[in-house]
């Protein structure tokens, strides 16, 4: 099985295309830094207290608009609480590379998923298209092993991208914002009050707890690839679902039905660094719900792959 996964890795990383995709992820991170820098929130000039009081006033105004979405109001309330906390404790807000990297995790996971589904969406179907499936399946390895080695390789690629993205965020962020503050704490709002944790813990939590999103989108792309032998179909559908899933889960959060929308559950940081996106859901429910989706997808693609006549 290890050998089969090594084979799949070789087929992924010995292609120029893969490195272009990795380059896109790096570019994305760098753009995020420029974005942050140009929006001016990174460096607080003048008296930070006046700045924060202004921000609070703006946020209150935004939240009180009649057409504000629930998510916008929620977001504004949190920021107001955080800003107030800084004012109350006389602690100047600072953005360093570590807090930048923590904040990036949510965006990065979407970018990485979009790239990963391109690899996962082809990993099986490309073998059919190129005809290499005939050699692959006539070797002394069962189809089950080949199926799972390809699935594992797809996930490993996504995780590798996440690691690269995290490292690049810290390095480039550090160059621009400075590396200081690793010993500091990370502030977040939970249950209407400001809480804090160490920045290192927040860093690990934010990256690891976003992985279910990647897992779900990669599995979807892999399922379509293995069950329908079509790369285009698989990649297009998966890209759409990834974008739609992210947008819907973000914009519609707190609506009742989103409790049964899987993308409301894939961001597990909501149980540690935030409030649950839908009132009443628990970590256990989310994990089971995600696993259920993964299992159902494999129940569709695994039999199709293992039983198919290759003509």
């Amino acid at each position: 099985m290890i050998h089969l996964i090594r084979n799949e890795n070789m087929k992924i990383y010995k292609r120029t295309r893969t490195w272009i995709l990795i380059g896109i992820v790096m570019l994305f991170v760098i753009l995020q830094i420029f974005n942050l820098k140009s929006s001016g929130s990174a460096i607080v000039e003048g008296d930070w207290r006046i700045q924060l009081e202004q921000d609070i006033a703006f946020l209150k105004l935004d939240a009180s608009k009649p057409d504000a979405l629930p998510i916008e109001i929620k977001q504004a309330e949190k920021l107001i609480l955080l800003n107030q906390y800084h004012l109350d404790t006389d602690l100047p807000p600072s953005t360093n590379t570590w807090s930048f990297a923590v904040d990036q995790a949510g965006n990065l996971i979407v970018a990485i998923s979009l790239i990963s589904v391109i690899i996962a969406g082809e990993i099986v179907s490309a073998e059919f298209i190129s005809g290499t499936i005939k050699l692959l399946l006539t070797r002394s390895a069962s189809r089950t092993k080949i199926y799972f080695s390809k699935y594992i390789a797809s996930i490993l690629f996504g995780l590798a991208l996440l690691l690269i993205g995290a490292i690049i965020s810290v390095i480039f962020g550090g160059v621009v914002l400075g590396f200081q503050g690793l010993g500091g704490s990370f502030l977040f709002v939970k249950n209407g009050s400001v809480e804090q944790t160490t920045i290192i813990q927040a860093l690990f939590q934010s990256y690891l707890l976003h992985i279910p999103f990647l897992l779900l989108t990669v599995t979807l792309a892999f399922m379509i690839s293995a069950a329908f032998k079509s790369s285009t179909f698989s990649i297009v559908i998966s890209l759409l679902v990834t974008v739609a899933g992210f947008v819907i889960a973000t914009a519609m959060n707190s609506w009742g039905w989103t409790k049964y929308f899987v993308f409301s559950h894939t961001n597990l940081t909501q149980y540690f660094l935030d409030d649950p996106s839908v009132p009443g859901i628990t970590l256990g429910f989310s994990v089971v719900f995600i696993l259920l989706h993964l299992i159902v997808m494999h129940l569709i693609s695994y039999p199709a792959f293992v039983k198919r006549d290759v003509v």
Binding site: N7, S130, L135
Partner: protein
């Protein structure tokens, strides 16, 4: 023990029977041809043996192992070339070999080197397979099929698209493998002249059914041969030959005269023709071609 035993192998797709109760055995060191028109079930038969297609009924035993009981062990004994060898174009020839070697147990680096030398790809093995010519791809495909020392090699229409030099090269490899390494080889083709040059036995398939197996090693030893004399005056030659062969049927094709006699009679007959003042431009012996045998068999089947 035969390297391959097939017993009443059947494949049905929907109501259609593609392969209908085929039984045959393949021995060590034997080259076995599967012959038949397009759609006769040759490819389907091979794909069932190599596990690309499921079988509807029947039994396949590879080196004494039933793939249904131990798929990986059964498959470790076979090497496959299905049509044109499709390899990973973005990988080098060497990486392709590494890829497939990893899928088998106990392939040493030395073995990989040996196989590369065997197929003569030393100079281009580190180039991308996408840059290979069809002949080179075929060689790489053969290397991939042989690297784990299979005792059974299956080839489905391997000569498709190959030029005559490529075909001759492949034939030489296959004959070498069968004679010197005792590999059992099953090869499907619709090119009968090709099969005739290398196969020890051929099976003829028609509409999914096995309609006969012919041993070509026996056919090569028949006493009477067909002889063709190429002469300047065929009319006269026919008259002379008639007196020599009493009642033998003599065929004529422009300036060629064809008849069936014992091999030992050829010098005598030639001499008689020359003595009669006939210019003899050529004497050829024609063995009954596989094509004749094949047509005989399939026609016989159709009349039933």
């Amino acid at each position: 023990m035969p390297v391959l035993q097939i017993d009443h192998l059947t494949k049905k797709i929907g109501r259609k029977t593609i392969v209908d109760g085929v039984s045959l055995n393949l021995n060590k060191g034997e080259i076995f041809g599967l012959l038949g028109p397009n759609g006769a079930g040759k490819t389907t038969t091979i794909r069932m043996i190599v596990g690309l297609m499921s079988k509807t009924a029947g039994k396949i035993i590879i080196n004494g192992v039933d793939p249904q009981n131990d798929y990986e062990k059964a498959m470790s004994n076979i090497g496959v070339i299905v049509e044109n060898p499709d390899l990973y174009k973005y990988l080098s020839g060497y990486d392709n070999l590494i890829h497939f070697s990893r899928m088998s147990k106990g392939v040493s680096e030395q073995r990989i080197k040996d196989v590369i030398a065997l197929v003569g790809l030393e100079h281009s093995i580190h180039e991308k397979a996408g840059t290979y010519s069809l002949g080179m791809r075929q060689r790489l495909g053969l290397a991939v099929a042989l690297v784990h020392r299979p005792s059974l090699l299956l080839l489905d229409e391997p000569t498709n698209g190959l030029d005559p030099a490529g075909i001759r090269e492949l034939r030489a490899h296959l004959i070498h493998l069968a004679r010197h390494e005792e590999v059992g080889i099953m090869i499907s083709s619709h090119l009968m002249s090709e099969m005739e040059l290398m196969c020890d036995r051929v099976a003829v398939l028609q509409q999914g059914k096995l309609i006969g197996i012919r041993d070509l090693t026996v056919a090569k030893q028949v006493s009477d041969v067909q002889v063709q004399f190429e002469v300047d005056r065929p009319d006269l030659a026919v008259q002379i030959l008639q007196t020599l062969t009493v009642g033998q049927e003599i065929g004529r094709d422009e300036d060629r005269v064809i008849l069936r006699i014992a091999k030992s009679q050829i010098p005598e007959f030639t001499q008689k023709l020359i003595e009669a003042g006939i210019q003899v431009y050529g004497v050829h012996t024609l063995k009954p071609t596989l094509e004749d045998t094949f047509l005989e068999m399939t026609e016989g089947e159709q009349q039933k």
